[in-house]
Symmetry: C2
Subunit: 409 residues, 2 copies
Amino acid sequence: MSKLVVQKYGGTSVGSVERIQEVAKRVIRYRERGDSVVVVLSAMSGETNKLVSLINEINPNGSAREKDVILSTGEQITIGLLSLALEAKGCAARSYTGTQARVMTDNAFSKARISEIDGSKIKEDIAAGKVVVVAGFQGVDCDGNITTLGRGGSDTTAVALAVALEADECQIYTDVDGVYTTDPRMVPEARHIPKLALEEMLEMASQGSKVLQIRAVEFAHKYNMPIRVLSSFDEGDEGKSTLVTREEDIMEEVLVRGIAFNKDEAQLTITGVPDQPGVAYKIVGPISDANIEVDMIVQSIGSDGATDFTFTVHRNDYEQAKNILSETAKKVGAENCSGNDKIAKVSIVGGGMRSHAGVASDMFAALAKENINIHMISTSEIKVSVVVDEKYLELAVRSLHEAFGLDQA
Amino acid sequence: MSKLVVQKYGGTSVGSVERIQEVAKRVIRYRERGDSVVVVLSAMSGETNKLVSLINEINPNGSAREKDVILSTGEQITIGLLSLALEAKGCAARSYTGTQARVMTDNAFSKARISEIDGSKIKEDIAAGKVVVVAGFQGVDCDGNITTLGRGGSDTTAVALAVALEADECQIYTDVDGVYTTDPRMVPEARHIPKLALEEMLEMASQGSKVLQIRAVEFAHKYNMPIRVLSSFDEGDEGKSTLVTREEDIMEEVLVRGIAFNKDEAQLTITGVPDQPGVAYKIVGPISDANIEVDMIVQSIGSDGATDFTFTVHRNDYEQAKNILSETAKKVGAENCSGNDKIAKVSIVGGGMRSHAGVASDMFAALAKENINIHMISTSEIKVSVVVDEKYLELAVRSLHEAFGLDQA
């Protein structure tokens, strides 16, 4: 049965004329088996950085609107080049910029969000037998301004386009052949995961497995669009891949699907805070107001009407957040505030946790056995995260990988 | 009195970050004296060639539509960069791609023609005190496809935009400070022309004075838009310039304004052609059908019911045109056909010729004095062109420049 497939290729997959030719060959192989193909492209690797340094030379603090006008040219070049490559091989193709593809966004330049895609014109081209090649990462607001979705936004374009066109599958080609139980560079025993639930992928992605952009996964989750992660460096099409799909479509539900980790965080603690209604807002509010994203938040019950607060921020925001917290400490009459930017977060993720108790305590036991001290704990339905000293990160990931049997087929 | 000025900067004028900063400074100087400024930009010099070689590596014979998608990115980068440079100096600016500026064209990709510009949005920005920065060389067809106007098309964008916005003047910044009586590299005595008529500029441009794109001059001529040619390398704004304007606005009408020349042509002759109605079409038709442009055409009256034809084509088309002509010679029963690609065309141009007889014979006399043989002659209202051996080109230009007193103030 013929399918409609949306294929997204990242910067390294279109990084040279040769790589673009390879993409064209793959697209044609899909066409030859009867599928319709819509391609979403990033800029050639290095191109965006080149444009960014031009911008920074002239005016790093200029308006985001003008920066988006410049940055969006990278994908405009690759869509034209791939279309020409397809034509050279006898395959009719037509490129679409974000504006032409009617990828409508809000006007939050540099980090715009897609509100709607009018796929009617693209559908006509598909019906006429053409391969449609769309610029990822970019859209247009209702005033015709060019917007960009921020780094990694091409994944989101691909998923949103797949939803708008009612595609059968959204394929994301990267330089890895899918998702692993953990990072194989850290744990050589890490196994490839052929299939996992969108909810699990969401937790894996947000916890630091950098295979897919988290907004893309959220989008796919919301609209039930299956995503397949593949490597554009595989010669054939029968190589390994990871299908990210609805939980109902996953036959084998496992307790722990994988181990995610994140070294980019820092921890801040404020102790002896008078325990009054609204105190959490008084502490976190000023941090958010400074546009600093807060990840984990833990409040522990204190004694004598006082409470302790611990939260994590991106390590780049550590100094600024610490200064803000010191000010807050004075205002709310807290005892002390401290911080630690030598920490790492380790998470176990798995849809099976919902129906099985004791997974968290198994995790704590495995870490205790290695004498790894836990600073913070945070849990969700299908995930348990802990913060440990950065120096224990590898040991923690390896022992958890083994403890949950992820190294065994 | 405050004016609306459209300023166009070519590739060398925006060829580096430093040059872009210089353009920003100049725009701001105009603003400070109360003028409103709309800027039209080319791509950074070298950028278009880089894109062309990428295209040629992948598919030189691909569709012009996709090539235009790629080539139009060059200007999109410069408009963003100049807007950022203006912002950095505290000047509100807003960039427009061809699509955003509503530069409507036909769909003749790579050589599209502007049909209309809807300047309403740009006018709003001007009224709001913003500098508007428009991408030259590009437009959009009625289906939203990106088109380019062909090389040099940025001049046409600037003039068409000036007309649409009812600007007071269209300034074309290049690497020369205007038009000269002839090329100063060939004749050191060549004098700068402060003012000349659009009709004269049209003849000068089409005859090889490569300062302005001929379509731009035609456009300006049609809509009576004054063009000022200036150098973007002049420090101040009070440097030399050439104003190209309506003939009525030129006070001093001279016999000969300047000497133009062209080394890119080749000459083809077919002799002993039976003189019948339609024979000219039989000879020139097949050449035009091969997309070869014919410049001068001379038919001389022959004897015995036969006639001779001589015409010129671009030197690059010489071999192909010669082959076509040989075929035609057989078909029409002509005696012989021959050619010469070592020729050059020299023209005298001047609005005063209309009311003065004898200019042509003065020209022939000057050439005869130097023993320069004339192969072809062609005349228009304000121009006389001759074809001579290429080796006599410099001598011809210098002696005509002197004979008509162009070296004297």
